[in-house]
Symmetry: none
Subunit: 199 residues, 4 copies
DNA sequence: AATGAATGAGCATTCATTCAT
DNA sequence: AATGAATGAATGCTCATTCAT
């Protein structure tokens, strides 16, 4: 990486960082490209040179961010704790993300005339799926997930928890207000709640 | 209700209807007050006379809509079917809502500088809570919900399901693509999945 | 015409006048809507309320202007002078127009991806044709135009003269620098120049 | 011409070619220097090194192009056909040019604040005049142009025809739609139309 | 000599909101 | 009470031009 590329890379990282901050705090529509440019210390035109449109900036930034997040989660999965502990930690991290993020953030594709961010979807989908397959396999192996459960349903169920956790994560305390244990119980044994015997 | 009031009421209903349609389809930011005014057959100034700001129009409309929705769900709860069937029906109805609605719709409060729609929150919260208490009580009584489960957690868990269901509701088929039964299993018995013995 | 309409009409006339001045002096691209708005004493938004786009403003303005011009020429045709005199006067007026106007003005449709101003074309074409048919009929009747000449060719020939006259009209003197008589000779008898016998 | 100069010359020719294509197709304002640079395979900065400004690039390119065109016409004049045939051929060639070119192209000087391209004018004027003097002399010698006609008027008349021909040149057929003969008649004998006796 | 990268100034357009009628 | 008309402020985006390398 020569001088040009290094400078450019640095500016892009700056832009990503600012864009993430602002978009997640205030939502896509309420943040102007000029604002991002100013806070990132570049000209708006530079952003357009890099990303072409505001939409594209948004999508690129999400992909960048997704990659970084997944890397963290994978590291957790590879650590030496029990599956329940790992699950809890990943959930809490995601919950933190999701509160920090505006929900709109996550649901960009829903509000737009579909297709704008189909690209994101496809991109993330695959990477996320890889992660989940690993996650589910581990859960089954350690007896926390019923062997007959398909990956598809498990994935849905997991993301359901994370989303809601994020939503409930108290905006004031920055801590889940309710016992995390109860939630993990729900996660593994449902509302009717038979106790897990193998643990 | 005299002549004036009747006309005003009718116009407000029209405005609510159009506002709901447009906001839910395209999201808050992408719909202009002028557009709503035009489709509702009134002048923009009239909307401002009635509601004061776009924000307020949005909030009033949501409250109106929430009331109507809850009325429907209460009627289902009062019907003569089993708890599981009622739960499934309510979930499916909400799922339909949530797909029709843009997600942004639901998460208005999150994306805005907190406080703007605190009002909505407080308003809905109470009404929604009343409904849920009735719902949970019934579930416990019929043995579908463990007696020790708090209302708070149950409510969280329920809304979690509805949200995710809405998200997965296939935009093409307008039908849940996956088995609803599997999902109800998950709902009642969780990922580890011991079969409910009492059913 | 009530109060609202009267005011609106007046503003539109103002906008037309300013738009004509600026567009004709500097060309379509170099004039900004803001500039027009400012000089016309209205807000840019008002122009967009009236015309929708800059393109449409341009087209509407041209149509308005064309109508006014043709009215003047028709009055000349209806006056009591000889055909040669009328021809000369109309040519000189058009020449004045065409110099004042940037050529780009006239050739908007050529430079744009065709279709943008097809509308103008169709609109003007008809009105202009009506005028020309009258003009040619008179010329033939008075023996200045050969009976076998088609209207189409005559029209082409006439517009040819006007355009070129406009181009040569001295930008400094605001007067044709060359003898108008010579040009009229060319017009009626061509380069080879046999003298007209009937006059 | 050494290695450096040869490379530079080649790049300039490339830039001229691309600039001509783009400017003539889309007009001066709608073509960006970056676009030209990209299609010519050079950096925008290179164009500025060579030409200084966009205006200057435009003017230089026109001069280059004019020279090339005139060379072609001179060769036609020097060929062995009749004056009428030569005239027709030159007219048709110019017509082709003028349709290919956006009109705006030709009338750059009119639309701009006068003086910007005065330079072009002076440059071309002389070269063009030389060509025309030759053309008119030939026409008189062969009896197609009346001996008393001044060069100035003849030149005007000729350019008039070419311009209009260009304008009428059918954009679809790439052929003059109307009989070229009629037009040549008009050219030599005018609207009143006495037949030429010497031909 | 050539360029990759960066930008300031500007442009068409939108929209929540106001106000005279 | 209702509205037609008007607008100030903003927004996404472009482009001729410059400059360190």
């Amino acid at each position: 990486m020569n001088g040009y590329e290094r400078r450019k890379h640095k500016k892009m990282e700056q832009i990503y960082a600012v864009a993430f901050q602002l978009f997640s705090r205030h939502g896509y529509q309420k943040v102007s490209v000029n604002e991002i440019a100013q806070q990132a210390g570049v000209s708006p035109a530079t952003i357009y040179n890099y990303f072409g449109t505001k939409d594209q900036l948004y999508m690129d930034m999400i992909m960048d961010w997704t990659d970084k997040q997944l890397a963290v989660y994978e590291r957790i999965l590879d650590s030496g704790r029990s599956f329940a502990e790992k699950t809890q930690e990943i959930m809490l991290l995601e919950a933190k993300n999701l509160t920090f993020l505006s929900e709109e953030f996550r649901n960009f594709q829903t509000s737009e005339e579909r297709g704008i961010s189909q690209t994101i979807q496809q991109y993330s989908e695959e990477k996320v799926k890889d992660f989940f397959m690993k996650f589910v396999a581990l859960g089954k192996q350690e007896g926390y997930i019923h062997k007959d459960q398909t990956e598809e349903v498990t994935m849905l169920y997991f993301s359901m928890f994370m989303h809601e956790l994020g939503r409930r994560w108290d905006s004031g305390n920055r801590e889940y207000n309710g016992s995390m244990e109860t939630l993990m119980e729900l996660f593994f044994y449902g509302l009717a709640g038979q106790k897990h015997e193998g643990s």
